[in-house]
């Protein structure tokens, strides 16, 4: 089984090489004639107004926070699901409890208006 990780390792190396081959090949073959107009930022044919990297509002950032919490909690459920057969009814009760807490969390976030755009 452990050797399977090696196989995956080999596969990862091969997979990583391919984009390099593509980029390298194109680098060798493509023409290179940049000029100031070509290298301008595209914004529908006009010069851009002000900076792009600004303090940008991501309206969904509370979603993102809730997401981090939930994603980790969901990760806890995977071992539970795998071992479910062995632990039986007790596991079901536990899961209900755990998911119950999760649900309360979701409902709380929902009621607090976290799942809303601001």
């Amino acid at each position: 089984m452990l050797s399977d990780y090696n196989f995956i390792g080999i596969f990862v190396v091969v997979a990583l090489i391919f984009p390099f081959i593509a980029l390298g090949l194109a680098y060798l073959l493509r023409p290179k004639k940049p000029n100031p107009v070509k290298t301008e930022t595209y914004e529908c044919g006009l010069e851009t107004i002000g900076e792009t990297w600004v303090r940008f509002r991501a309206q969904y950032y509370i979603y993102a926070l809730v997401f981090v919490v939930f994603d980790i909690e969901a990760a806890f459920l995977f071992p539970w699901a795998v071992a479910y057969d062995q632990v039986g009814l007790w596991a079901l009760a536990e899961a209900f409890l755990f998911l119950g807490i999760l649900t309360v969390g979701l409902v709380y976030a929902w009621r607090k208006g976290a799942l809303r755009w601001q």
Binding site: E43, C44, G45, I49, G50, E51, V54, R55, F56, Q59
Partner: protein
Amino acid sequence: MDISRELRERFGPAIVAEQETRDGIPTLWVAQDRFRQVLAYLKSGTDRPYAMLYDLTAIDERARTQRKGQPAADFTVVYHLLSFTRNHDVRVKVALAGAYPVTASITDLWPAANWYEREVWDMFGITFEGHPHLARILMPSTWEGHPLRKEHPARGTEMGPFRLPVEKQEREEEALLFHPEEWGLERHGEDTDFVFLNLGPQHPGTHGLLRIVLQLDGEVILDAVPDIGYHHRGAEKMAERQTWHTFIPYTDRIDYLGGVLNNLPYVLAVETLAGIEVPDRVKVIRVMMAELFRIASHLVWYGTFAQDVGQLTPVFLMFTDRERLFDIVEAITGGRMHPSWFRIGGVAQDLPRGWDGLVRDFLDYLPPRLKEYDKLVMGNPIFKARTQGIGAYTLEEAVEWGVTGPGLRACGLEWDFRKKRPYSGYEGFEFEVPTAQRGDCYDRAVVRVEEMRQSLRIIEQCLDNMPAGQYKADHPLTTPPRKERTMHDIETLIAHFLGVSWGPVIPAGEAFFGIEASKGNTGYYLISDGGIHAYRARIRAPSFPHIQMVPEISRGLMVPDLIAILGSVDFVLADVDR
């Protein structure tokens, strides 16, 4: 009570004169110091008010010779108002003196006056005091002179060759930069920075060369500033140089999806000036062609609107249908998108043999397709979620901003010029005027889809009741006269020769004619000085006020909604810029 009497009684000497026009619209000259009161009274003082600022334009009077009974003026500003309750128009003219006159703005009375006044400033150099941002609108900000003034060159050869050295290019680019401060827009919010984004002119979602500068907070639109004029070709100036007859092809290219729907108001206005009465057959042929083009235009809108909300397939299906329709147009006119087929006093040729079969086939073909599109597009839950409640305006707002056509009917007002002021024989047809209530993107779509069905009904009636008779009026100003007769009688031959080589001479006068085009009310306000070309031709295009309104209905929404709104408004940039 008659509106001109009412105004005379109320404002007395402020009403300087009343002018006779060929179209019968009361035209009142009002003193420059009182015209704002008169307009305010017309808008809200009188019972059954003139609520819509239908058009606002100007005339350079300095070269005009035939002004009998009109007060002296170097420039005239013309306010054209429309009353829905009276089903009546009134025209208010204000005489201005001086080379670069100054007058008062009415943007506080009608927000829609904003762009119109900018256009007048851009084209004539008339300054409007009290205007919030009197900047050029159609011409580039670097332009010198005001094109519609009589002294401004009308063609490239009068201006010297065009050159674009690097410095000029840089200057032009610099001039296109948007400065938020000039428009009173903040660059920073409380805890975020706003992003200013050029949406267009090279953008796949704007259906042409339209630029909208967006002030974004995240992806929410705080404000939008449309920048138009990229498609400006100076059609109104061209009309002053082309003969009455040779201007017809230019009209096709105003709303370039509407084909003969553009010819119609123009020839109707010229016929009003010339006093031509056309035979019944001409009327019915014109109605049939106009309705075919309404369907063609709506099919393009339907497909591109679906495309705008991300549905890929409908546009191909609908363009295929449109091709079938163009096959009919081609068989009848020889042209497809821009047939330029209507003539002063008639149409270019009689209908060809076998036209009825083609039309009949299409009448059988389209209804099942439309039914399928109802399921594919209008019934799709995602489509509904993307369009319902988006970009809604109330009837009051629509009237305030000069919205006409399907956009107005989507707010619940059953207002269609074909019903309210039948022209070209529409009074003889049975059809319904579809309306909807909420005025959002979806409702505008509902109205247009139903309009296609009504157009089919009208076309069917044309097909069943096509009158026999001539395809051109028997009138000396009919241009060109009927070909069969030019070969046999000398008067017609002379008329033909003059009409083609010199151009028909249309008697002096003024006439406006507005019709229900596919995008809204298209109207031509023509002034003849008794010559072979228009002294002034004003094109009242529906898309212009519609685009002006877009920021109003997109604030607080997101970029995808803006694209949906643009799709639902159904504008053509050539119609906006002319």
